[in-house]
Symmetry: D3
Subunit: 140 residues, 6 copies
């Protein structure tokens, strides 16, 4: 019997900027380029959340998609949509809000909430041309 | 030498509905929501079929794409395109035709037909925002 | 000053079939092909609704998008989403539910409801490869 | 002989927020919803610029696309990409940076710069589901 | 009653190069850039063909899509698909095969063949970021 | 801690043809179909390059995207964009330039150049409906 994973895609819009206070202004500009603009800029982020599991024989479903929708609304959309990520998402505090770091925060927020099946992958698109995948680490 | 997998995408249109006769009418409505509408509704399904294998040095190809096209036409399009999945696809009989279950039926139909290379993944999109992956199970 | 039109895209899933009782069975099969399958099939319809008008200087908006969302939910999604168009949409009664006819019904449903600005175009995709545009007719 | 228009698509990322100081805080929240968040949020804007004209018989081109690329870089990307539109784009000063208003500013910036052929349409996507078209006004 | 136009999208793959023998080699390189490479390069062209007309009350259709498919196969795909446009498409002989010129050739090939309804627009994408529209000219 | 992979997408346009001098003309036509056209044809190739690694705590990045952009420009775009792959890319010499073989050449070109993180996957789209993945082989 084949393994099954189901993926739901959602979107949110947010602003961010890259600045590390441990770097000089010149280093920040050189390393982060236009992303270092102090006013910030923004993106339409596209998030794909993949759950692995065995479909329930009674429903044919790995998990209830309404339940997943509620989790994604509460954990991700309410936290990040129409927000300035540097200032309004405490989980990113002290980190550069790169696509890599945002995807890892999303993984940490969602992983404990998925109880039917388990979180298999988080894919976050910052733009159609750039995306990051998170999957379970070695000790997971 | 890198491993190679090749993926072909096709589309088909079908109708379906979700109803489990072991559930009460109220349970069917609560669990399946609008998908329980007794008249049914439909989707443009998008299917990605991935074959793993070693390219033939004489042709540069993992498998003959015309051969794959014929298999996909005969096994999937002829069976499912412009069909009502609950009533016209015997392989789904007695199952809720969720994206999970349709993808598993597609896996079972295609797996024995792929003889040059082997079936690596079936991905079925029910909509741009929802898709299911099937890959070889533990005992495969 | 340039003319402004704003377009909102939404999606709905529905089933349909093509059959004209004035044609013989053989004519129905020849003219409508696989769309004549008596069980029906379905699509993910994508609808683009375009409103022309002058942006309000106080809001910068042609119309309130929340108001448009409510109109689209009430007039289109509640009527057509997860429905079998032949049996459940009275406005299509007695018509073949082609993309052309569905788009015209949508035009007629929306046109009187748009009171800030005016309806400029309805575009309905039956699939990524086939769509219909409705625009105001000669006497409109 | 058919009329010809050529369209080039580009992208830029920017942050914005909606707030009209003539409205009360409560009105701002009610009218602009999440877009009124004082920290701002952002989008990947997609811009399609359409030029109408007669192809040059010697080159087969309505205009030199390298020339158009330079105009779009100088007039739009350098001004708006990785910017906070409310604070960094003087042309939007005193306006709500809605998709409608940004598209009109882009029209006004580009129209005088297109000297081979003429500007026919500016289409600006704020997201895949929302876009604005500007075309020449009545007196243009 | 709203006006109706229906659009069918197809694809073809072709090679081309830009070279005008009336220009010097240096002019060819400066004007056409990488497109002047004498070996040529290629694209996946996407063609949208739009037909305007009144839906037939008996079929709900502006025209028979199977008939349109046959016209597109015979007039466009058989001529241009998997071809080197400069050497194998006589209609383009003596012209630079820019997107503008290819679209005009397609217009001229299709216009006399559309007898149910009339050809309203030809849109040809050379890439997702560059496309050309042809519509009926002034004297048409 | 979740594993992180970052993917950058780029595009290039190229021409190619399939012909194996060890096959008879008839075999070449039968096996390669329209791809055997001696003039060649072409595609807009889309390349996704995936790098696995640990984000640097100081920058939040697996690798500097400007550095990756330079590698992709030098190793892939400069070699393949606006080229006829059979005649102008020595790495493909003596091979049929199928999507499989091009993807393997790209893997071999990029793998030694990625020094921050490591190359995890090369995905090459020949068209939206056909793509090839390369991943590290058994002995890698």
């Amino acid at each position: 019997m084949a393994h099954v994973r189901i993926t739901r895609k959602i979107e949110f819009s947010a602003a961010h900027l890259y600045h590390n206070p441990k770097f000089s202004d010149e280093e920040n500009r050189r390393i982060f380029g236009k992303c270092n603009n102090p006013h910030g800029h923004g993106h339409n982020y596209v998030l794909e959340v993949t759950i692995a599991g065995e479909p329930d024989p009674m429903t044919g479903m790995v998990l209830d998609l309404k339940e997943l929708k509620d989790i994604l609304q509460r954990e991700i959309v309410d936290r990040m949509d129409h927000r300035f990520l540097n200032y309004e998402v405490p989980e990113l505090s002290g980190q550069i809000p790169t696509c890599e770091n945002i995807a890892r925060v999303i993984w940490k927020l969602l992983d404990p909430k998925i109880v039917h099946g388990h979180l298999d992958r988080v894919r976050l698109y910052e733009s159609p041309d750039l995306f990051v995948d998170c999957t379970a680490g070695d000790s997971a």
